[in-house]
Symmetry: none
Subunit: 228 residues, 2 copies
Amino acid sequence: MNSIILVVEDEPAIQELVAVNLEHAGHQVWRAQSAEDADAMVREALPDLVILDWMLPGTSGLAYARRLRGAERTRRIPIIMLTARAEERDKVEGLEGGADDYLTKPFSPKELLARIKAVLRRRAPERTDDAVEISGLRLDPATRRVVGNGREITLGPTEFRLLHFFMTHPERVHSRTQLLDRVWGDHVFVEERTVDVHIRRLRQALEASGHDRLVETVRSSGYRMRGV
Amino acid sequence: MNSIILVVEDEPAIQELVAVNLEHAGHQVWRAQSAEDADAMVREALPDLVILDWMLPGTSGLAYARRLRGAERTRRIPIIMLTARAEERDKVEGLEGGADDYLTKPFSPKELLARIKAVLRRRAPERTDDAVEISGLRLDPATRRVVGNGREITLGPTEFRLLHFFMTHPERVHSRTQLLDRVWGDHVFVEERTVDVHIRRLRQALEASGHDRLVETVRSSGYRMRGV
DNA sequence: CCGGCGTGTAACAATTCCGTCACGTGACTG
DNA sequence: CAGTCACGTGACGGAATTGTTACACGCCGG
């Protein structure tokens, strides 16, 4: 939890309703009244999720969703669409929304939060604060603790995120570029080889409990975490 | 997935529409406004697929498709043609089977992606990241793992690609030249006999699970992988 | 203002991988 | 049955990739 959520909604009452609920749940909220507003914010930094009203003055929510999905930088941001009436839902869905989920007004705060959680879990499990465990190595985002076979393991911030990403996406090979994108994040410009160094630091820390072998090198492709 | 797709389309709006959708699907897009532009790009490196407007200023799409199909180097690149009206479709189709598929404007993004996937799977299944399995030997591109009867098999990069190609094109003899083209890639200059050496290395690795017998030598023609 | 801490980079070391060659062996031909 | 021809195989030098270390720099907290 504690994600950055961009709420794009022109109607102040609904904007407020959504924002308050999200903030109450511990999220950080950015507010935009239009797609243009939203775009300005997104250019600055990437939110973890976007809640987008279907009807907006100027660029429609649908069009904006498509735009987000089109650009490389914003492609993988989860989108939840707010639609006005139940009837329109199918229409939008059929039309080809880039959205991950839809919410029909009126909706309960509980439903809103549940869908956010579900979408995040599906598209970006590393943004969730569920604890993860792989063969005796346990990482808990909520407490920011890593424990290997009972022994506590200390990690720097980057190594922690790196391990978290690996553990939420095990068994898959990740190229250095992918890791930079998803662990280091947006708007960073660092050498690919920097990844190697942090892999080294991570392995070194994991040696304490013998879990360093979980981080595998896949020559010419990238790195992979052993699953199970 | 994640292929390089060359889009040849003179109308900016459609060019953009297609490109955005392809990028969203994870492909890398090269854009060309004319057959001449496209040709310059293709000379540099080969795309995995070409989307070609039928009507183009200068050399027509149809003519360019024929040219691509004529040259040895570009012969096997899949081509999808964009045609203007439904009526013309039959005409074009009848006229020349240079294309692998046709798409009539207007088309939905979904249809576009579906056809691309279908064409790629048909003409270049090794570019897909679906796992393949043949008689107890399983190769998974996403995890970059090869498992033979439960035992994990370690392969170098080239052997991995070679095996992947074989497994996606079983029961068919591939000459050394073909293998060099499709496994080593375009624009490489190595001895043909190098293939033999990698075949040897592949077989050696596969011995661990007894799958080395799947790779058969076809004297004076090339190599073949046993299917099923 | 000092001293850690965390980071990114560059440089060097250690592997791993690749392509080529040389030689051996088996198969096919006439 | 000898002579090619095609392929198998082992070795080797060099290239490419990754591991590792050292260092400089910026950012706090004291």
